[in-house]
């Protein structure tokens, strides 16, 4: 209970510093009868990188996947409570998930480019959502590839299949693809877990830059990564939000014993 209060206090401190983009309160989620998330309360600040850490199965990904309702398609998954993004109620049945997912992009754990050309991978989403000229589509593709740090590597082979790229390049392509839709929030579910250190470093750089424009929420198993890329960190354990604060505070002087045990490697 004490930890919940501290996390609430932190929440209000954070809210004063940065306006919140995602507001979650009294949020519960289930897979059939399994209670995956229990009473989650958190305000994720706008245009900052927030990392979710915690041992496997603690519900980080579930929370992330509810933020753009990708979990809708999972049979018998349901959620209750408040989850708003810039004031819009996400869980409402009236929410148009197609419109929502343009505003809240997601990058998955394994790179999943479409079996199309590099150019088409990005242009697909742009054409789907925006009625713009051919030239402008090209401009947006170039810009998002550049922002994803991929332009120099692929500018001469835009017509080639995206599957010919390396794993790290594919993942950056997926990030570029999400960025091209000008989302407000970018969700990343362990985006580096399948990549080598060099590719990881490139993506971490990218995430760092992304917060100029987007609110980034990233799930990671790698605590060094959380310290490197995130402004705020939330620690989850067994479906509960244990602690949330600035990354500096979380990793230097955590309030909760469990957080300390986890980040010092005593369990998990």
């Amino acid at each position: 209970m004490k930890s919940l209060q501290t996390s609430m206090e932190n929440n209000s401190v954070i809210r004063e510093k940065n306006p919140s983009a995602i507001h979650i309160s009294q949020f519960d989620a289930w897979y059939d009868r399994y209670h995956a998330l229990k009473n989650i309360n958190i305000d994720i600040p706008e245009k900052q990188v927030t990392a979710f850490i915690g041992p496997s199965g603690c519900g980080k990904s579930t929370l992330l996947r509810w933020m753009n309702r990708i979990n809708d398609s999972i049979f018998k998954a349901r959620a209750e409570g408040t989850l708003t993004i810039h004031g819009q109620d996400i869980l409402s049945t009236k929410t148009d998930v197609v419109a929502l997912r343009r505003r809240v992009g997601i990058v998955f754990q394994k790179p999943n480019p479409f079996p199309k050309s590099i150019f088409e991978n990005i242009a697909f989403g742009i054409r789907m959502h925006l009625n713009v000229s051919k030239k402008e589509v090209g401009d947006i593709v170039e810009w998002s590839l550049y922002k994803a740090g991929l332009w120099d590597e692929v500018k001469d082979r835009l017509k080639e299949s995206a599957l010919s790229l390396s794993g790290g390049q594919q993942q950056r392509l997926c990030i570029a693809r999400a960025m091209a839709l000008a989302p407000e929030v970018l969700l990343m579910d362990e985006p580096c877990s399948a990549l080598d250190p060099i590719a990881t470093a490139k993506i971490e750089d990218l995430i760092h830059q992304l917060r100029e424009r987007y609110t980034v929420v990233i799930v990671t198993h790698n605590m060094q990564q959380a310290t490197r890329v995130s402004d705020y960190t939330a620690f989850m354990y067994l479906g509960e939000m244990i602690e949330f604060g600035t990354s500096d505070q979380m990793f230097m002087s955590p309030n909760d014993q469990r957080t300390e045990d986890y980040i010092t490697g005593k369990f998990g």
Partner: protein, 407 residues
């Protein structure tokens, strides 16, 4: 290296334009709804057609679908005709086809999927095999009937013909005599085509119960003896016998003739490509890293197949096999070539016996002009469909019960 950083696309900095350029979500959702409904109604049509068919058949056949219909032999009289030998014939076929086609089909699939050779020329053999299977799946079943007729029924007449097989096991032939007092005497003969026995005094004879009897043979002009014990076992020299046979359960002959075995082998040819393809798909669906894991622990190829790959593929193989069997049970064309339309009043007793099957019997009844026979044909169809649905239900059950995540 980064010669120029591209300008942020103008639209991203211009909220008004961004808003104007948004494609209408409502429009896209409308198209989504329209196509969803089209897909669902088209899917519904097939269900409706099936329902119409079932209702029509059931309406035509439900009155004659009685217990006696299921348990009695066919008859020239529609009101007493039954389906029993046909049902049993189909059961025999099904068991044999399953026993024949499953090992052959799965073994071929394992060869093609799990024992891919490294060597180039063997690889070519593999691809020829693969192409062959794909082509076999497209061959009409009547053609398989032709193959079955020449290959299994008569074996190209190499081993005699089907009436006089060159090799036979488990059958005994007798010449059957009737005495004047209607007693039956059996005289064993060596083969079906030996000349008829002429009664003579030292002849060995048996009663139908297998009791050995000394016959009393008298000349054509001689007086019939007095006394029951002697007159019962007396035959005249000019008596003409009838040839009969007694087949044991293991009766076997080469060539196979028009028996259940020939029918089953032919149906096996029809469904083999289906089983092979289904088994291949099932094996291919097993993630490659499971094989690598087994090889990495020092398992041989065969150990990997037997302990890891095949168990994971069993639900898929079983589903494919059962669907193939339900195809076999409904096939009429190839069986028509093998068994023909004959009057069969007993279910088969061994794998070489003549037989009829459900589709054959239905065809037989349906082609007759009398309306009564059309009714019992419809009843037969209901039985056949019930069996088919039962099989499909088993397939679905197996798929749902045993299919578990593999990765």
């Amino acid at each position: 290296m980064n010669a120029h950083e591209p300008e942020t696309p103008e639209i991203f900095n211009d909220p008004e334009r961004m808003k104007a350029a948004q494609r209408s979500i409502q429009h896209r959702q409308l198209i989504n709804t329209v196509f969803k409904n089209i897909c669902m109604s088209v899917a519904g049509i097939s269900v409706v057609l099936l329902l119409v068919l079932l209702t029509a058949i059931f309406y035509l056949g439900y009155e004659t679908l009685t217990l006696p219909f299921l348990s009695s032999p066919p008859s020239p009289d529609a009101s007493t005709a039954g389906f029993f030998p046909a049902i049993m014939g189909s059961v025999w076929l099904l068991v044999l086809v399953m026993a024949l086609a499953l090992p052959v089909g799965v073994a071929t699939a394992i060869t093609l999927e799990e024992f891919k050779p490294g060597n180039r020329s063997l690889r070519n053999v593999h691809s020829v095999l693969q192409t062959n299977i794909t082509n076999l799946a497209g061959v009409p079943s009547v053609v398989y009937g032709m193959i079955g007729l020449t290959l299994f029924v008569s074996m190209f007449q190499v081993f005699g013909n089907e009436k006089k097989p060159a090799f036979e096991w488990g059958v005994r032939y007798f010449d059957q005599f009737y005495s004047d007092s209607d007693q039956i005497w059996l005289v064993p003969v060596d083969a079906s085509d030996t000349p008829e026995t002429i009664p003579h005094s030292s002849m060995v004879a048996f009663t139908p119960n297998g009791k050995k009897v000394d016959l009393n043979i008298i000349g054509p002009e001689a007086q019939w003896p007095e006394g029951a014990s002697l007159s019962d076992r007396t035959l005249r020299e000019d008596s003409i016998p009838g040839r009969i046979h007694e087949r044991s359960w293991y009766y076997f002959r080469i060539p196979f003739g028009r028996g259940v075995l020939s029918g089953a082998l032919t149906l096996m040819l029809v469904i083999l490509p289906i089983i092979m393809t289904a088994s291949q798909e099932a094996l291919r669906a097993v993630p490659y890293n499971l094989r690598e894991a087994a090889w990495g622990m020092g398992a041989t190829r065969w150990q990997t197949v037997w302990k890891i790959t095949l168990p994971s593929a069993v639900p898929g193989i079983m589903t494919g096999t059962i669907l193939a069997l339900s195809r076999a049970i409904g096939e009429a064309a190839p069986l028509l070539m093998i068994a023909g339309i004959v009057f069969i009043s007993n279910p088969p007793g061994n794998i070489m016996d003549d037989f009829t099957a459900m589709p054959l019997q239905i065809y037989n009844w349906a082609q007759r002009p009398q309306a009564e026979f059309h009714h019992i044909a419809a009843s037969g169809i209901v039985v056949l469909l019930a069996v088919l649905l039962f099989f499909n239900a088993i397939a679905v059950y197996i798929r749902n019960k045993y299919q578990k995540p593999l990765s």
